[in-house]
């Protein structure tokens, strides 16, 4: 039986080799010219605080403003061509004491567009004219900056780099809450913050803004640190990345959205359960991973549970994880292979699997509970694995005990065979 299959096996291998060759030859050519236009250019907006406090001369003996200007010059020179870059200022124009006017003082200094040679020069000239002036309206500026970046609905990565040296002076609009709300709009926006020689309150506020959007916070004490970090952040925006699709989970499986293979985002409140459905064809394996981000101050112990159930509510498999302490995300995953179809009827059928995502995050009473925590759900369908029919690979043996046993059995078998043939010879002779 085995020997009969072998020619067929070689023929199949050859066929596979040929197809693989053809398949690789095809897309390889398409990739070169197909990829570039498919990915819309990433957008970055640099937001610079030009409030009065920027006059302080405490960065390498220069004023904070001078350090920022020098850093901007370096960044504008080094910005990758594919990045659309804009500059917005806050507190640059209004010198007065009226809080309401001061809190509206934000200006788009340079529009968000791809920089050519003259664009870089224009942007530098615009930055050079800035002089430290007014208030620090971080919250309203972030809202405006988000609008600048979302004038279209294309799936692209968007990034705000906020450089400030003081806390927001326009309460009660908390910039941290503003950042979380912007992030919840599902526009793939990240806010990175940089504090110039920050005090405790500034640092707390800026790191809160960064945390709310999955960005990073840096405190800057030297000019080269500032330039280096902003360059790094702009480059990061240029890195191609898969953008997830929004999926709104339901409170029960019957009403849940049906997901295909892909990457999805959602928001889930503290202690909420969200359901999604996946149709798994026979002979396919469902792979699902979920991560829930802690985008605000949460209590130190937390967890996540991802459950795969049948529509009747029987649990198939679960993934769970718990943790404690400082974290950005908690994640887990599961696999669920379905057996190969035995006949053609089954082949068309697919099994509906309900995925339930729940979290056990909690937060102090002072923390705002809405919008929910960001959830990222990855769903993948691949072929089912070859189930193991033995503990060992192909049921093969290993080790000295195996060799010893085989030698012993072989030797005994040889002896018995020898004695048998002697006995048969003797019987034959006597007859």
């Amino acid at each position: 039986m085995i020997t009969r299959q072998r020619p067929a096996a070689w023929a199949l291998a050859l066929l596979a080799a040929l197809t693989a060759g053809l398949v690789t030859a095809g897309p390889a050519v398409a990739d070169d010219d197909g990829d570039a236009p498919a990915q819309p250019s990433p957008k970055v907006e640099l937001v610079l605080d030009v409030s009065g406090s920027m006059r302080a001369r405490d960065i390498d003996g220069k004023s904070r403003m001078a350090a920022a200007k020098q850093a901007f010059n370096e960044v504008l020179d080094a910005t990758p061509d594919e990045v659309a870059l804009g500059i917005r200022t806050l507190g640059a124009n209004y010198r007065g004491d009226d809080r309401r006017t001061g809190c509206k003082d934000t200006e788009l200094l340079y529009p968000v567009e791809r920089l050519d040679e003259s664009g870089r020069t224009d942007a530098k000239t615009a930055v050079a004219t800035l002089a430290p002036t007014g208030w620090t309206p971080i919250g309203p500026t972030l809202l405006k900056a988000a609008d600048d970046l979302t004038d279209d609905t294309a799936e692209r990565s968007r990034r705000i780099v906020l450089i400030s040296d003081g806390e927001d002076t326009c309460q009660p609009l908390d910039p941290c809450v503003v950042a979380r709300e912007i992030s919840a709009k599902g526009i793939h926006l990240t806010i990175d913050t940089l504090g110039l020689v920050p005090d405790a309150k500034t640092r707390e506020q800026l790191s809160c803004i960064a945390e709310a959007t999955g960005g990073t916070y840096t405190s800057v004490r030297h000019t080269d640190e500032l330039a280096g970090r902003v360059k790094q952040l702009v480059d990061r925006a240029a890195d191609p990345v898969v953008t997830p699709v929004e999926a709104k989970g339901a409170d029960r499986c019957a009403a849940a959205p049906e997901l295909k293979s892909g990457l999805y985002t959602d928001r889930e409140k503290f202690g909420e359960h969200r359901w999604y459905r996946v149709a798994v064809p026979a002979g396919k394996e469902l792979r699902a991973s979920v991560s829930v981000s802690a985008d605000r101050a949460v209590d130190p112990d937390y967890g996540v549970l991802l459950r795969a159930e049948t529509p009747n509510g029987r649990e198939i498999v679960r993934g769970q994880e718990s943790g404690d302490g400082r974290t950005d995300v908690i994640s887990t995953g599961l696999r669920h292979p379905t057996p190969e179809a035995d006949d053609e009827d089954e082949e068309a059928a697919s099994e509906t699997v309900c995925l339930r995502v729940s979290n056990s995050f909690s937060a102090p009473a002072s923390v705002k509970k809405a919008p929910g925590l960001p959830v990222e759900l990855a769903v993948d369908l691949v072929d089912s694995p070859d189930e193991a029919s033995d503990v060992a690979s192909f049921g093969l043996g290993h080790g000295w005990w195996l060799l010893g046993l085989l030698v012993l059995v072989g030797f005994v078998a040889g002896l018995v065979w020898g004695w048998l043939s002697r006995w048969r010879f003797a019987v034959w002779r006597t007859n």
């Binding site: 096996a9 199949l12 291998a13 596979a16 080799a17 693989a20 405790a200 640092r203 916070y217 840096t218 405190s219 640190e225 280096g228 970090r229 990061r236 890195d239 990345v241 898969v242 997830p244 293979s261 892909g262 990457l263 394996e285 991560s291 498999v317 994880e321 302490g325 400082r326 994640s331 887990t332 995953g333 599961l334 696999r335 990222e376 993948d380 691949v382 694995p385 070859d386 189930e387 193991a388 060992a392 690979s393 192909f394 049921g395 093969l396 290993h398 085989l406 030698v407 012993l408 072989g410 030797f411 005994v412 078998a413 040889g414 018995v416 020898g418 043939s421 002697r422 010879f425 002779r429």
Partner: protein, 261 residues
């Protein structure tokens, strides 16, 4: 059953070999930039920077950042991740800090460390901190309810978990590398995954920009030293059988058998 499985395992191998051939041709055109170790780290699972085994990756970051790298581990490997963080100058720091590495598999499930120091607290004036984590042996297959490590992408997350708020955002430099040893045939298990646990393995358009894959492709997983042990065992058994047979026959003809018969 076994034959079909060999066949199914060998087919992707042939395809992978061809892919590798066409891959080397295009990689040569890309220049030397690709062979350089990455000098950046990602900030989430989605943006994790792909590194290879035995490659020293570095990253400039700020204290408090979550740094992510992704690397491939294949069947039968025991991987160890090493991370070193050069801490900010002691004058700028206010208190001791605790650093931690976590390793996650391709399904973002956290993986246990067999050995190593995945978490360490260092004094205020320490210059650097070194962390490591040795993973369990990667198996070719496991039951879906188990958390056993399977071949595929692994994520390494490096961050500070305990920090005085004043020390947030200071510049640090991180250095990571991943080494792996072969666990040998004693660890070879039956069964195999159709695709390694790589995010987006089922569809090309969701694949992250940087795909982690071993340099010579994923192993098909059918070869192990068990074939040699079992084969040699068979040969030895046959020899012992011949020896045993010869022993019963003595060195010459049996006594009493006349000449010439």
């Amino acid at each position: 059953m076994a034959t079909t499985r060999v066949l199914r395992r060998a087919l992707p191998l042939t395809g992978a070999a061809l892919l590798a051939f066409s891959g080397t041709a295009s990689a040569a055109g890309d220049g030397d930039g690709k062979s350089d170790a990455p000098s950046e780290a990602g900030t989430s699972f989605r943006t994790a920077t792909a590194i290879r085994q035995d490659q020293k990756a570095t990253a400039e970051a700020s204290t408090g950042d979550y740094l992510y790298w992704a690397f491939p581990v294949d069947t039968g490997q025991r991987a160890t991740v090493h991370a070193t963080v050069k801490l900010p100058e002691a004058a700028a720091r206010h208190a001791a800090s605790t650093w931690q590495v976590d390793v996650y598999d391709g399904l973002r499930r956290r993986q246990a460390c067999r050995l190593g120091t995945p978490r360490k607290t260092v004094a205020r004036d320490a210059a650097s901190v070194s962390l490591s984590c040795s993973l369990r042996t990667v198996r070719a297959w496991s039951e879906q309810w188990a958390n056993d490590p399977l071949p595929g992408t692994y994520y390494l997350r490096l961050t500070v978990t305990g920090l005085k708020a004043d020390d947030l955002g200071l510049p640090v430099r991180a250095e990571v590398d991943v080494t792996a040893t072969d666990a040998g045939g004693a660890q070879a298990v039956d069964g195999s995954l159709a695709e390694p646990l790589v995010p987006g393995a089922g569809s090309d358009d969701q694949r992250p920009a940087e795909v982690t894959e071993p340099e010579d492709g994923w192993s098909s997983g059918w070869w192990s030293s068990r074939w040699i042990w079992t084969g040699v065992g068979g040969v030895l058994a046959a020899l012992a059988g011949v020896g045993g047979y010869a022993l019963t026959r003595g060195s010459g003809r049996p006594a009493g058998v006349p000449q010439g018969r």
